[in-house]
Amino acid sequence: MTLGTLILRSLRFHARSHLGVLLGATLGSAILIGALLVGDSVRGSLRDMALARLGKIEAAMATGDRLFRAELATNLKAAPVLSLPGTANSADGARRANRIHVLGVDEDFWKLAEKAPPFATVPPDSVVLNQALADQLAAKPGDEVLLRINKVSALSQDVALTTRDGQSVALRLRVHAVVGNEQLGRFSLQANQVAPFNAFVPLALLSQRTGAEKKASLALVDRIHVRSGWLPPTAFQVAGDKVKEWMTRIGLREASAPRDEVLLEDSESGRLLLNTVRGLPSAFPGLPGQLQTEWRLADAQLDLRPLTNSSALELRTDRIFLDPPAVRAALAVDTNAQPVLTYLATLLRSGTNATAYPMVTAAGAPLVPADLRDDEIVLNQWLADQLQLKPGGELELSYFLPDSGARLTEATNRFRVRSVVPMQMPWADRTLMPDFPGIAKAERIGDWDAGFPLTHRKLVDDDYWKLWRGTPKAFVSLSAGRKMWGNRFGDTTAIRFPVGADVRRLTSPQTPDPRPQTPKLETPHVVTYKAELKKSLLAALKPADFGLVFQPVREQALKASREGQDFGGLFIGFSFFLIVAACVLVALLFQFGVEQRAKEVGTLLALGFTPKQVRRLLLGEGAGLAVLGAALGAVGAVWYARAMLHGLSTVWRDAVGTSDLRFHAEPATLAGGFAGAVLVAVFSLWLALRKQVRQPARVLLAGGGEEVGSNQFSVISGQSARGESGAGGAPTEVARHSNVESEVAEGGKLAAAKGRGGSRHRNVALLGGACLLLALSLLGWAVATGQTANAGAFFGAGALLLIAALAFTAALLTRLERSEAAAALNLASLGIRNTTRRRSRSLATVTMLACGSFLVLSIGVFRLDENANATKRSSGTGGFALLGESTLPVVQDLNTKAGREALGLDEKALDGVSVVPFRVRDGDDASCLNLNRAQKPRLLGVKMELLRQRKAFTFAKEWEGGSIGWRWLDFLELNKGIAQASDERARLFATGGDLPRPGTGEVIPAIADQNSILWAMGKKVGDIIEYLEPDERGRPVRLRLVGAVANSILQGNLIIAEDEFTARFPSEAGYRWFLVDAPTNRVADVSATLTRALRDFGLELTPATRRMAQLNAVQNTYLGTFQILGGLGLLLGSAGLGVVVLRNVLERRGELALLLALGFRAKALRWLVLSEHAALLLLGLLSGVVAAGVAVLPSVLGAGDLPVAALALTLGGVLVSGLVWTWLATVSALRGQLLDALRNQ
């Protein structure tokens, strides 16, 4: 005989009475484990999606607009991809998809798929669509689709001189196949559960048609198969696989795509191991070395060529402006190097004489005198003659600010003529002009296809163009030129390297060689020098300076899915009431069962067991039930999780934005959930047991204690049984005892209780009165101050009312208990008076029902209404009418007449319309619509003045308690201390003591939506975000969150100042994100006009309120889920009422038998019991509903979209269920020979 045997014997003997406990434990466990499995499933699904979108891809080099040689990727054993944004239309134009990814791929790309597609490569003039795009276009193999793709332009669209016509190219292609997830159909480097629109076309075709021949913008590196090639599986892996296989077999787990590294990837140490084996820790020691070896100047879009007409080599770029790192490196490599900046002047004027569109070169000696001042200019003879100028004369030089983009901002500078040079070398050098697209190859100036209108046609000098082409007509100092034309892309168009006699001078430091040299083109002399120079340049340059950096995309993707929204925790929260209800039920049933065994407990105590030992024994018994319940619950959890996933994929889809959620169950979760469920159940049982085992053996041996009046339910211990008085002089022992002395004691205690009850009654009533008064005051204040939409005030008032109602209930029960009006006694009043017999139990029942119904109903007050104050600037829409996103960047200014005309927009149609444009650096959607943890949130750049002037949006929180709103973004202002920022704070933003220019600071101020910061990024205001991607110069991007905007349409993005944005990401041309102000009565018209005009840009406009609704839908859906599951919890809780009834009635069987003996009919007794408990049920629900009614008033009065029907159904269900359980319990308890109970008394 052991304690274990005793526990087992008890479990078996009391099996029937334990059945309810077991069911409760099973239910609670199923819900708890099920909620965790929902988390597993969402996480697992996100991981599946992450792995599906990457296939075997481990790392990727994504250079955006900057293109590198496809050969570089091939040499790195990577798949080259040219990724360009575009739009797609079905052949008949009926269906359209914006923001699609057109991916030029070759056969290497498909080798990265987990499952090879049924084709080796995409045939010419064909396209392969992914499922999402095929569905959107309703396209199938054999159909034709029209793709419009942004052409690759070396010169940014933001440069004034760039051509803006023919930006895009249209391809009519036949759909060759539609690829699924396993065939890389979902390929994307952005973490999002929503499948992208992908169109795969032959790399050769795409690069050729878009002007990017043999170029790529993505290099994708294969994953190394760790298990097959590098490491034997560990015992842990084998065991894990076995468990998973077993779980899959029994249906606990769905088979998923082959993931041979999942086990390792699931643990930190595993990931480290993988990274070590793959050679891919965060810094990729292998790849950068290889990249440094394999890359060429062409990969930085640099070209080193010998000049045909002079004795020099020239470094230039088809991006026109050399990147600053290239300039620095070139000047460092050869100190003889001469930087040159040649730019187009729109007009050179001297008095009435003028000439249009000449090139002007800024350089040092020998092109200009070494001492040329910044306000001096050198003219060639042609220009001097044309303008009739001599040294000492003055002229005006007009030009477009280089990065004014399509706005074509013009500026004018005045110069004094220093000298006139002959039309001969080195001045008559047409190679000084960069290859401006649309200009360089034109035969006539009139044929120029540049990004500006030739407004000075009459002043065009075609004779000069024919004879001298782009030969500069004038020369200024380098510093003067850079002041005029320096821009975010660079301030140098070429670097010239005079080829000296010592061609090997690059290998050792040399002093500048001023002697002009005249080597012949491509002589061995030059070839040697060129080779040396190339080598030196490549050594001095870093690939990262040009965005050539490999990112561990697989690691990032898995991290994003791993750290994504924790649906396990979320559903535990949603199922809270259900779990609590199940626990209460378990506790009630177990306690009930133990109470029935009071004598057994008393016997054990009398035999020398300590209360602790007995509690352990009973708890052991309970633990056995909990373990069994949890085991059964684990099976039920699968169904619960599946039901919740079904809900998330259908009715609650707004919260997750995908129906691709698949069931997953991890062994660790099951084990953890199982342990948690056992612990929760055991804890509930422990709570239930505490009171029971603390009663003395003699009381228990006499049949268990009964609460005599409610106030005397004090805990009894062996020590307290001495009869010592408590602090208030109250007796500490209460028991129903068969002996007379105990009965006498009871009488005494009743009397004492009544005396004490009087003061408590008054205190409780006072508390109720105070709460009622406060609630009414709060409501009065809200109405008087017009705060009728203040959810907090109404929720507070509701909660106070609830407390008041419960306090009054407590007082009422006390009053009823003290009532001695025997004259008014009838069966109904007797029933109600009976509620006072177990006052604490009655009050607990009312409290549970009231609190439950209050919470379930009133949580609706937090539903978000997208229409509330939508036109106000302070609202979540920022007062904007429309939100737009375009596929291709819009460089024109939509707020100016010129910009609108350029886009063919009718000025009248846009009367009263203004736009706040944002630059976009693509990244992860950091809104609540993305379930993944955003690793690299999308960056938006905006002119903060546009938002500040409008006072758009409301700041929920600002850094260090500041209150300067959008001005936080103004980097310079902040550092000047004009803002409220302290010097110390300003110092945090920048390195060094100088005022930093945009792009030079260490930390960039950023603002984001509060929800994005908290949920999608897991950060808080003041935190620094280490952006996963360096900027285009390879510098790390560190952002400090300086402000959080309250729930708004800005969700999903990190917003920084535009000048900071362009300094960091100069290649990101134009604007792709727009907030549009439009007159409220013309929103639809404005939307239609803009959409039509910007169709080729793939512009999609959404009413701001609709976007707000999409975002709000997440929270509202969560609240709805909580209400539904909470309602179910209440329903389950109402079953607990049945248990309470059963306990009450069984305790009073003798008394009821007496009534029977006195001539009452059994039916009357049933009504007596029913009326007593129905009163409790109604009282509880009524208290909760009235209090909740007040709390939800703003919602009812405002949006009016409260799910009244669903809530009424829930409460009705609770009422009916409560009544049914009460009735069943009454009938069950009163069944049998009731009079026997009388005889037993």
């Binding site: 005989m1 052991t2 304690l3 045997t5 005793l6 014997r9 008890s10 078996r12 003997f13 009391h14 004598k599 057994e600 008393g602 016997t603 054990l604 105590l605 009398a606 035999l607 020398g608 067991f609 300590t610 209360p611 030992q613 003395p696 053996a697 003699r698 041996l701 211990s717 062996g718 020590q719 049984a721 001495r722 009869g723 007796p731 002996n739 007379v740 002395e741 105990s742 006498v744 004691a745 009488g747 005494g748 205690k749 009397a751 004492a752």
Partner: protein
Amino acid sequence: MSAPAPLLRLANVTKRYPGAAGGDLPVLRGLSLEVARGETVAIVGPSGCGKSTLLNLIGTLDLPDSGELVLDGQRLDTLDELALAATRNRQIGFIFQSHHLLPQCTVLENVLVPTLASGDTASRAQAMDRAKQLLTRVGLSERMNYRPGQLSGGERQRCAVVRALINQPKLLLADEPTGALDRATADALASLLLDLNREQGTALIVVTHAPELAKRMGRVLELRDGVLEAKLQ
């Protein structure tokens, strides 16, 4: 030569309960009692006189308001809950009017239940032998694997007696042990108790309304007005 120390000594023990009028209702008023080792004592008295209260005090199921309670030289009224439980387990045996056997356990297991409280696993094997021996002694050798529900009232009470003796207590307390039995069975049980008293040397205090049972005890005491008075047999 001094007299041997009594096994049990109660000196000036009082016990009160709160009264209906707000005052206290005294149940035991300075009660004193001494019981020698191996002695048999019957306590009689009218209903409500405090017999069960007295037995509960001796059995450490309740504690006195004042006075001394000494068992085998150790004061019980000053012990903590754990020590009291240990005393109940090792030194006192209880026999109740209702046998209070655990319905889920067999007769043998019921007898062994008190041995589980001590946590002394080493002595459990010996306890098993003793249980079997005692059960054989009381005529339950054929019923060892029966459940209480399968026994007659007398058999259940005999089982309860064996359970009370399993830890070889010095004092056996019986509260109306024959109250629920018919006369013949009650007589047999009384004989058994006395036989075991002799055999085991255990002192026996019986609270009873039954004069026949009381008469068979060595001493009969009547509880009246909260104090014990010797009753002439």
